[in-house]
Amino acid sequence: MSADAQVPESDDRKKFLYVNRRAPYGTIYALESLEVVLIGAAFDQDVSIAFFDDGVYQILKNQDTSGIGMKNFSPTYRALGDYEVTKLYVEKESLDERGLSPDDLMEITYEDEDDDWEEKPSIRVVERAKLSEIMAEQDVILSF
């Protein structure tokens, strides 16, 4: 599926984008953003999530919070496919600026009901300019 997959024209759902810009544990924004995404999934809208700036750290693999007394909520991102949240855009420049590559990110997948339930990656690494286009297409942007 291309990064700019469109919903059908007859679709009267709105396009919701959740923007995550902060690291997962220094503040509560990442966790409470995820809570909105999970609740919002029940409303049958066209949902995407974007990770940029320090937000890319939210979906790093092998997170270990045992030393800081906080719950490691990162496994929840891997369940997003079950909530039919299947478009997770990650900004390439934010990864580059932090010395990260797509291999450092968790494997997050969904089963594509339009393609015989084939398992497909939810994460789509896109360049900054592309992400800006994606943001321009949205009806509602919630940034945390």
């Binding site: 709105k14 409470e32 409303f43 919630l142």
Partner: protein, 130 residues
């Protein structure tokens, strides 16, 4: 135009709640509809009636309560965020065996679905925070 407002920061530390209040007030004066004001993250702290700021300062919580009364505004505090931060109404306080509630007049506690509903129903969702 039909607006929904999201306030993501608490009172005084951050200008978000003041700006949201000013925006809401002027939008109403200009004849727009405010569908709902939703308080999330530390924004839930705007909904406690127990704040006692110095008398020569603005009282942010009172401002909201009075605006709500005047315009029949729907001020909604997110329940999950509120429970983390100790904002309780009477039934929540009872349910969690707390000896007091602190929700301010005009505010009510409800779920995050109320925020999603703003996004679906309104022409614009205007968020105030960082």
């Amino acid at each position: 135009m039909k607006f929904g407002i999201l306030v993501n920061e608490g009172p005084y530390t951050h200008q978000a709640s003041d700006s949201a209040y000013q925006f809401t007030k002027v939008a109403l004066e200009k004849g727009h509809e405010i569908y709902r004001v939703f308080f999330y993250n530390d924004g839930v702290n705007n909904g406690t009636r127990l704040t006692v700021p110095p008398q020569d300062e603005r009282n942010i919580q009172n401002n909201w309560s009075e605006l709500a009364k005047e315009h029949d505004l729907d001020l909604v505090v997110c329940v999950a965020a509120a429970q983390r931060r100790g904002i309780l109404d009477e039934s929540e306080a009872k349910r969690h065996s707390k000896d007091v509630d602190n929700i301010a007049p005009g505010f009510r506690i409800s779920g995050l679905g109320q925020l999603i509903e703003i996004g679906i129903e309104c022409d614009r969702l205007v968020a105030f925070g960082d």
